[in-house]
């Protein structure tokens, strides 16, 4: 069967989620393989969320926050950026290709950029192929 | 090359009857609805634009104003009441003044005093000629009638002399018209300096000139066919009258009263009918203002109609008085006829509204030449 990459996206409520909504109101079309999860701030992203997404079968994970300086909570996106660098290192050591995890800034007015980003990442994932870690990860402490 | 705008051109154009052209906001409805506008020769919108901006050269070298026959569809459909039809009419007046090298046309169009003054001076000269000049050569009024009981017109106004005068007047008018048409040709075909037209094209397309003069096919393209008919009657009546008077006066101005069905009389009657019918339609139209083309009358429009009507009426009177043997009435009518006719021909034909009888067919001819124009080779 043809490979259809699954993309899980974490979008902050104030900028990126609103930007994704704007793509909808502007009727911009993009690949339907993306599944969006809303969080209040990109600073809320925990490594566990990313790992959980890969474990559940995501071929790629996308994190979007406000542009630097525009964070609704002043600096959550900076904290996200620092955490992202660490997660990126960690997932690579686990054998997850670098291209599968991406952090981008999308503002509330960038519906077009969001649609382009989704298509672009989908294209990248098609080239990289299916994720090899599907179903092989268990995140123990969260079972509670 | 960019064109320098001449905002002061507006003040000149206003004198030719152009109203508030800023009303136009260039939707292009007029050009879309015009039955005569065609690719390469679009109007009226783009000409209005040139007028608004004051682009003198482009205006003076355009042939399009003459291709418009003023059906009024554009004015009817204009959403801004900018009256494109009348703007084109005014532009024709402006162009007529530009073709004329004497500068008189401009004076006549822009000043009623000048035009009326000229008419009165020429009328006075005609009257003086009849009262003093012809009697000095031995021709005088006589109440003595012919055997048929008609008035001896030739005794008072001998056809030989009148014809010589007609010929010289025709020559002056022709000279003026031809020189103006040459200027028109220069402006429309040569001035842009980018294209050239071969001699063969000039010859091949020449038939269009005659065809357009006689049939006026473009006129009939406008939706209002009735007006084409009345205008055609007017034009043909005028042309017939012009030819018989200027070329065949010996045959036309006889003392003998010819039978009713003689061509001299039937042709005369036809021409008179044609003129009267055309004039009637035009005058009633301008008074009732129902047709768009008749809604806005420049001074020159009325002056032309009134003079032509008076000429026809005095002509009819001469005929009636002559065959009924009313000598004095005939002579007075004859003098009045000439006093109106001479200034009318001298002013209207080369300088004013009537010049369109020459410019219009030539414009169609020039348009055809422009269609066959090829880019000019650089002078290397």
């Amino acid at each position: 069967m043809e490979f259809r990459p699954t993309l899980v996206a974490f979008l902050c409520n104030w900028c990126s989620y609103t930007g994704a909504d704007l793509a909808g109101t502007s009727r911009l079309h993009y690949a339907p393989n993306i599944r969006i999860i809303r969080i209040m701030c990109s600073g809320r992203i925990e490594p566990t969320f990313v790992l959980k997404a890969f474990q559940q079968g995501a071929d790629g994970v996308l994190i979007c926050g406000c542009h630097p300086g525009d964070c609704h909570y002043q600096e959550g996106n900076y904290k996200c950026l620092r955490r992202y660098k660490l997660i990126q290192k960690y997932t690579q050591q686990m054998g997850i290709e670098k291209e599968r995890l991406r952090l981008e800034w999308i503002s509330a007015s960038e519906g077009k950029q969001f649609a382009e980003l989704v298509n672009d990442m989908t294209k990248t994932l098609l080239q990289v192929g299916p994720s090899k870690v599907k179903g092989t990860l268990e995140v123990e402490h969260l079972k509670k | 090359m960019s064109v320098r705008l001449q905002p002061e051109l507006r003040n000149q154009l206003i004198q030719f009857g152009i109203g508030d052209w800023n009303a136009c906001y260039h939707c292009g409805t007029c050009t879309a609805i015009c039955p005569l506008s065609e690719k390469g020769f679009l109007f009226p919108r783009n000409k209005i634009r040139l007028m608004q901006m004051g682009v003198k050269d482009e205006l003076e070298t355009s042939v399009e104003p003459w291709l418009c026959y003023y059906c009024g569809d554009c004015t009817k459909s204009c959403p801004r009441d900018a009256n494109p039809g009348e703007l084109m009419m005014s532009l024709r007046r402006y162009l007529t003044s530009k073709y004329d090298w004497t500068g008189l046309s401009r004076k006549f169009y822009t000043s009623g005093v000048w035009e009326l003054g000229f008419i009165l001076v020429f009328a006075a000269l005609v009257v003086i000629a009849f009262l003093f000049l012809l009697p000095a050569y031995g021709f005088k009024f006589t109440t003595e009638l012919t055997a048929q009981g008609g008035v001896q017109v030739n005794a008072f106004a001998p056809w030989e002399y009148i014809e010589i005068f007609d010929w010289s007047m025709a020559a002056v008018v022709a000279l003026l018209l031809i020189s103006n048409i040459l200027r028109m040709y220069y402006k429309i075909i040569w001035k842009d300096g980018k294209t050239t037209v071969s001699i063969w094209t000039h010859i091949r397309e020449f038939w269009l000139l005659i065809y357009n003069f006689v049939v006026q096919p473009r006129f009939s393209k406008c939706e209002d066919k009735n007006y084409w008919l009345s205008h055609w009657f007017l034009m043909s009546g005028y042309t017939i009258m012009f030819i018989v008077i200027v070329v065949y006066l010996e045959w036309f101005q006889t003392d003998e009263i010819l039978p009713f069905w003689h061509p001299q009389r039937t042709l005369g009657y036809y021409a008179t009918f044609g003129l009267l019918f055309g004039l009637f339609v035009a005058i009633i139209g301008r008074i009732r203002k129902k047709r768009i083309k008749f809604q806005f009358s420049h001074v020159s429009d009325w002056l032309f109609l009134i003079m032509l009507t008076l000429t026809v009426i005095t002509g009819i009177l001469i005929h009636i008085f002559r065959i009924n043997g009313m000598a004095w009435a005939t002579y007075i009518s004859y003098i009045a006829h000439m006093a109106i006719l001479v200034p009318m021909i001298l002013i209207e034909v080369p300088f004013s509204k009537w010049s369109h009888l020459a410019y219009r067919p030539f414009a169609v001819y020039f348009q055809q030449l422009k269609k066959h124009a090829v880019p000019r080779k650089s002078n290397q």
């Binding site: 909808g24 079309h29 339907p32 809320r44 925990e46 904290k79 503002s107 | 960019s2 800023n22």
Partner: protein, 576 residues
């Protein structure tokens, strides 16, 4: 925890969703899931009958969790939460799935869109099981208001609030009140005097005992939250004043664009090329003259300077077209014989009386010349000795299709209105955000263009986007009404989705204390644990993500809720 009893509702949104998503299939697919009591689809869930349906079902079927799959939660989450509350269940036991903005409107393959909708609803079902009832909280409101900016919008809002007897602190960074309007001569479209509008207003503000005006003053970082803000303001650069207030109105306005950056226009290089602001000064002085002290014979007014062009600003400044037409009347009155050229890209006359004003002005013997704002900006050059004019404008005129040169003696540049240079500092100090054009972003572009996403902070006038006087005044009065309503209530609801520390799990590392941008987390030595001040906490969740011990719970965005959502969100696309 009680057994979850979930009701799922799929909205058609007319054809907006139903056209691209098989709503029947979504409902039937999820109806058999554990804990799902019922799954229904309905034409308009947000309509009164739609909400009634939820309320009735909650009562009849004893539901304790509700999911609506419809538009974005940013639009109707509050609607459905209120419906749940009416039916007697806690509003936070509700969850929304966005199958319109992020599904039916962005995809073209119906089966893919339906699959995605099912995934999103399953994720919501999984998530909602972990939802907890949260109690609403409210705080008292300080009746004073801080207004930043003393232009027409700020002054109008101040007077409106002060009229009810409440204290207003009006802070203006310049040494005088009046803003942009004070620099204008006449206003469009009625040609009434701007000075006669603004000066009485300034007097009323100055004489109002409830308004304290601070000139030459800039605000510092504002602390606190809706109802209870405080800050220190620096008057004249040194005197600091402590003020406390419950609400904030930002009315900082805009400033004119500097056309020096457009090389084609030669501003500041060619004499007699002036901006609209400088031209207003000329009109106020009553003398329209060239730099040589002569009456200009031809005047050109160039529109859209710095507007509607990606190189400068993409937006339209909204007021310049009408101002440019206003100049026609003023020039015509002063110089009856002058030729006036309106060099424009598009004529915009959207407001009340504006189209009529345009139509009326076109009859003032002016010449409109159209240029291409993207590729054909007019080029201005100094005229030569033989030209008989001061300036020559070269342009490709669109309506005639020819290249022209316009000889003029004066050029007025209709400059764009743009954000102040220090706007970023202002937004940061009051905790709001800017949109792409550096305008303050409103809470909702249509339904709430006065409020911001920060509670208690309102935006009025030009800083929200260029606007004319009536629009600024309406917005100012609207903001004042909103603030007076909260003052009248004496208390406002605050964020309930805050963070909470589980003192038993907290190891006392204080990472959370360091990451909190609002200083809402502190370390309690006696408890040997961090504690969250729930009044200060805005619920961003950064501390929760940072806590190495997993001791911080971010209410409504808990780990278990988000992880459950992740588990559900790929149900159809990947199962193992």
């Amino acid at each position: 925890m009680e057994e979850p009893r979930i009701g799922v509702y799929i909205c058609w949104c007319g054809t907006n969703i139903a056209k691209m998503v098989d709503v029947e299939a979504v409902a039937s697919e999820v109806s058999s899931m554990p804990h799902v009591v019922l799954a229904k689809n309905y034409k308009y869930m947000c309509s009164d009958p739609g909400q009634e349906l939820i309320i009735k079902d909650i009562k009849v079927h004893n539901l304790n969790r509700v999911i609506v799959a419809a538009c974005s939660p940013r639009i109707h989450e509050l609607t459905f939460r209120t419906a749940c509350e009416k039916a007697g269940i806690n509003p936070y036991l509700f969850e929304m799935a966005n199958i319109r903005e992020q599904d039916s409107w962005v995809h073209t393959d119906r089966s893919e869109a339906t699959k995605k909708a099912i995934d999103l609803v399953i994720a919501a079902i999984r998530r909602v099981r972990f939802h907890e009832a949260l109690e609403k909280r409210s705080v008292s409101v300080n009746p004073a208001t801080l207004v930043i900016g003393g232009g027409i919008a700020g002054m109008t809002a101040s007077l409106e609030i002060a009229a009810s007897g409440k204290q207003v602190y009006l802070v203006e960074k310049a040494d005088h009140l009046g803003g942009m309007v004070a620099q204008l001569d006449l206003t469009f479209p009625h040609l009434s005097s701007a000075q006669q509008i603004i000066h009485p207003l300034i007097q009323r503000v100055k004489n109002n005992p409830n308004i304290k005006v601070f000139l030459n003053t800039q605000i510092q970082q504002v602390h606190g939250y809706i109802g209870n803000f405080n800050t220190t303001i620096l008057q004249n650069g040194n005197e600091s004043v402590e003020i406390e207030f419950g609400n904030i109105i930002a009315a900082v306005g805009l400033k004119p664009f500097d056309p020096v950056v457009i090389p084609e226009y030669g501003y500041k290089k060619i004499p007699d090329v002036v901006t609209s602001v400088e031209f207003e000064q000329m009109l106020l002085s009553g003398l329209i003259q060239t730099s040589e002290g002569k009456d200009p014979r031809n005047v050109a007014i160039i529109h859209c300077v710095g507007s509607r062009n990606k190189k400068f600003h993409e937006y339209c400044s909204r007021v310049c077209c009408m101002t440019a037409l206003k100049y026609v009347h003023q020039i015509r009155a002063a110089l009856p014989d002058a030729n006036i050229f309106e060099v424009y890209a598009d004529m915009r006359a959207y407001g009340k009386g504006h189209e009529e004003f345009y139509a009326h002005t076109t009859h003032k013997q002016i010449i409109f010349l159209m240029f291409d704002q993207q590729t054909g900006l007019p080029r201005i050059r100094k005229a030569g000795a033989a030209d008989k004019c001061n300036i020559i404008i070269e342009m490709d005129e669109l309506l005639s299709g020819i290249s022209i040169e316009v000889p003029v003696d004066m050029v007025v540049l209709m400059t764009n209105m743009e954000a102040h240079d220090d706007v970023k500092e202002v937004v940061r100090s009051i905790g709001v955000s800017l949109c792409g054009n550096q305008f303050f972003i409103e809470k909702h572009p249509k339904l709430d263009p006065v409020a911001t996403t920060t509670g208690g902070v309102y935006i009025v006038g030009g800083c929200q986007g260029p606007k004319d006087i009536p629009d600024s005044v309406s917005q100012a009065r609207a903001a004042a009404a909103r603030i007076l309503a909260t003052i009248a209530q004496e208390s406002v609801p605050v964020e309930v989705t805050t963070a909470q520390v589980n003192e038993l799990l907290c190891c006392g590392c204080q990472t959370c204390v360091r990451v909190c941008p609002y200083s809402a987390v502190s370390y309690d030595e006696s408890k040997k644990s961090s504690v969250v001040n729930e009044v200060l906490c805005k619920g961003c969740g950064t501390c929760g993500a940072a806590c190495p011990a997993g001791a911080i719970k971010c209410k409504h965005f808990t780990d278990s809720q988000i992880l459950a959502e992740i588990e559900g969100i790929m149900s159809l696309s990947y199962k193992y």
